[in-house]
């Protein structure tokens, strides 16, 4: 094995994570190469030093505090509405879909209904046309163009478009 590869594998070798196929070649190289052997020894010492941190004893109230947190959580869950502060997404989707469907149905239904009322469109239109075509010219002198037009409409002409 070459030094570069050995040095890359030294960490895993120290941790006992080099497989049985690779380990003999790596250890043979360490026996023969002083530089790699020194690197292995330095890493071993560093790793030993890194284990100097002590343990931590739990405080006397650790489990009581944990129980309190669990109880607080359960109280919070019990107070929450059935669907919580935000309804499930599927409920929102259904609501929007229902609203859209209702609006579309209403629009189609009312539209068809209005169109089916007899003379609704024509009578309303005619009323507007009548008001514009007749009353607009009531005040004009008879010999004026407007007055002539008013006489024409009164006699059944003047098909407004």
């Amino acid at each position: 094995m070459r030094c570069q590869r050995v040095k890359r594998r030294l960490s895993a070798w120290l941790d006992g994570e080099v497989g049985e196929r690779e380990r003999p070649a790596l250890e043979a190289h360490l026996q023969a190469c002083a530089d790699c052997a020194a690197e292995a020894e330095h890493l071993r010492q560093v790793w030993e030093l890194a284990g100097a941190l002590p343990e931590m004893e739990p405080g006397p109230g650790f489990e009581a505090a944990l129980r309190a947190r669990i109880q607080e959580r359960e109280v919070r869950l019990a107070r929450r509405p059935k669907w919580g502060p935000v309804a499930p997404r599927w409920a929102w989707a259904m609501g929007v879909g229902a609203a859209l469907s209702l609006s579309l149905w209403l629009g189609l239904t009312l539209g068809r209904g209005l169109a089916q009322l007899p003379g609704t469109r024509d009578s309303a239109r005619q009323a507007v046309l009548d008001s514009w075509s007749v009353t607009a010219f009531h005040e004009l002198p008879p010999q004026s163009v407007g007055g002539a037009y008013a006489r024409l409409v009164a006699n059944g002409g003047g098909n407004e478009r």
Binding site: Q45, M56, E63
Partner: protein
């Protein structure tokens, strides 16, 4: 082989509080140690440990014994610690300072009988603590899980949600970084007392004479 802890979790899912209490008592120390060695602050470590157990409790109905319970537990404590680290990017230095103020009162260390050795040990612990705290978050967690909790690379990969080769890379780089920080404390590089395998502290001269 059935996992007794997985069976306890199933009992927790059925509302057995006693089963949960057994799990807490069994794993309280390793969870606390992991959090403490990661964040370096006692108060925060307790908070993170409780958060870990709270998440375990909340997840009891979703837990499926596809892996050992301990593997799943370390995944949770890892996530809790990494999440806390992300939220408190600037707090690591403050935590170290806070820890130093209380280290002589709070830290449990039964290995050194003499006060002189205790002082030297605390000095070394401070240096090591700072060196580990200087590592990037995932390297730091890999070090804590391998060096202290003695997890395998596969178990660490599960905890960190990465591949085994990624774990090897993390630990390789972590050791290189620690070597730079702790170079003065490697044998022959300084006069500082060194910790040897059995945990006792010996002077540099004595160590050299033993190995010659």
């Amino acid at each position: 082989m059935p996992d007794p802890d997985a069976e306890l979790m199933q009992q927790v899912a059925q509302g057995d509080h006693e089963a949960f209490s057994i799990l807490v008592q069994k794993y309280r120390q390793p969870v606390l140690n992991t959090a403490f060695r990661y964040v370096g602050n006692r108060e925060e470590a307790e908070d993170l440990a409780q958060e870990t157990f709270l998440r375990i409790y909340e997840a009891c109905h979703r837990y499926r014994p596809t892996a050992r319970f301990s593997t799943w537990l370390y995944r949770i404590v890892t996530n809790v610690c990494l999440d806390a680290r992300r939220r408190r990017q600037t707090r690591s230095v403050e935590s170290l300072e806070a820890l130093e103020e209380t280290s002589s009162e709070v830290l449990m260390d039964r290995r050194s009988p003499s006060s002189q050795e205790a002082v030297e040990r605390q000095e070394l612990q401070k240096v090591v603590r700072e060196a580990i705290a200087s590592l990037p978050p995932r390297q730091r967690m890999a070090v804590v899980l391998q060096r202290y909790e003695e997890l395998s690379y596969q178990e660490i990969a599960t905890a960190l949600d990465c591949s085994v080769s990624a774990v090897e890379t993390l630990l390789h780089r972590a050791k290189q970084n620690l070597k730079e920080r702790l170079w003065d404390y490697v044998e022959g590089n300084a006069e500082t007392p060194q910790v040897i395998a059995d945990g006792s502290v010996k002077k540099d001269r004595a160590v050299r004479s033993e190995r010659s």
